[in-house]
Subunit: 202 residues, 2 copies
Amino acid sequence: MAIEARPRRQAIEDVASTLFHERGYAATSVRDIARALDIRGASLYAHVASKEEVLWAIVDRAAGAFERAADEALAATSGSGAGKRLAELVRAHVRVITADPELASVFVHEWRHLAEPRREAILRRRDAYEAHFRNLIAEGRRAGEFDAVDSRLASTFILTALNGIATWYRPAGRVSAVELANRYADLALRSVGGVAHTETSR
Amino acid sequence: MAIEARPRRQAIEDVASTLFHERGYAATSVRDIARALDIRGASLYAHVASKEEVLWAIVDRAAGAFERAADEALAATSGSGAGKRLAELVRAHVRVITADPELASVFVHEWRHLAEPRREAILRRRDAYEAHFRNLIAEGRRAGEFDAVDSRLASTFILTALNGIATWYRPAGRVSAVELANRYADLALRSVGGVAHTETSR
DNA sequence: CCTACCGATCGGTAGG
DNA sequence: CCTACCGATCGGTAGG
């Protein structure tokens, strides 16, 4: 007997990711999600408690993916200089996005449709995540590896540039995921006055 | 007899900008806009043809502001090197955002809710605008002013970082609009290997 | 997972 | 700019 490989719940989240990415959470109805799965709108509620719960599942999963990737990148480069660590952090972030751009896009753009206390919880996790970038930039600056940038401004500059990838990246595009991670790491590193490693310098 | 200084139509667009920025176009109802103006939802239609027409008015106005600012920045620096011109282009872009972050935010995030042919028209204008950045980066690269970056990737990196400002900037914040324009110009310039002028280098 | 249905709200129109 | 109203659709529930 063939068992559905991917549980229904996961299929719902995948379809919702796609639709939330394409049209946004508010412009996507529960019936839109159901239609994509060839079931009735009301049947969705056998698997999920509410539309917002689906959004939360997606946002929480994405947040977890970013957090894990950052922890790994930092653990793998502990003891290295700030430049090398920041480059690896950037690459890890880009990899999470290119691995599932729709998931990342919903995380980046639709979290504000969460109700409290989930909204607040995500804001806190985002800030903790950004702090990795902020601290590394401040550290590199103190060590003389970077220019005298404002670490808060610079980390925001870099992170919003990275998150933009979720909006336009398509796996079949001109630039591969690996190439993109390297190029973006170089752009980010240089922006704070660090040394880019991937590209040949001028 | 006191005549309303700001015509009703303008007040509608201002209120709509605020709400579209805060909750998004799809999550804002015509009645929400009316309520903020202390009139009934149906009364709005004495001044506008549709909800989408209001979105279009906002998006079109924002696009015009960006286009004018870029044209001026390029005209004012004609004959200068690519680095100087790109820095001025970045400053102009940031200034448009800080002058009216809500307007800019709706332009950046909500244009996709436009129906054809407006949606397509805005996409074309966005691409023409981005070309200014792209071309300047390619030029600076050829001139040996910048590193060997991919001009398409680098212009996207920079522009998405700049547009992020519309999401978080508040006039009462830590960093003034002028300071922000200068710091972001430096970050952008350095990201392509150009020389930052505003900050003291390491 | 279905049918049948709920009250609320949506964008918008008619006719003053 | 109002009241009164339109058909369509919304998220969600009851009861199989």
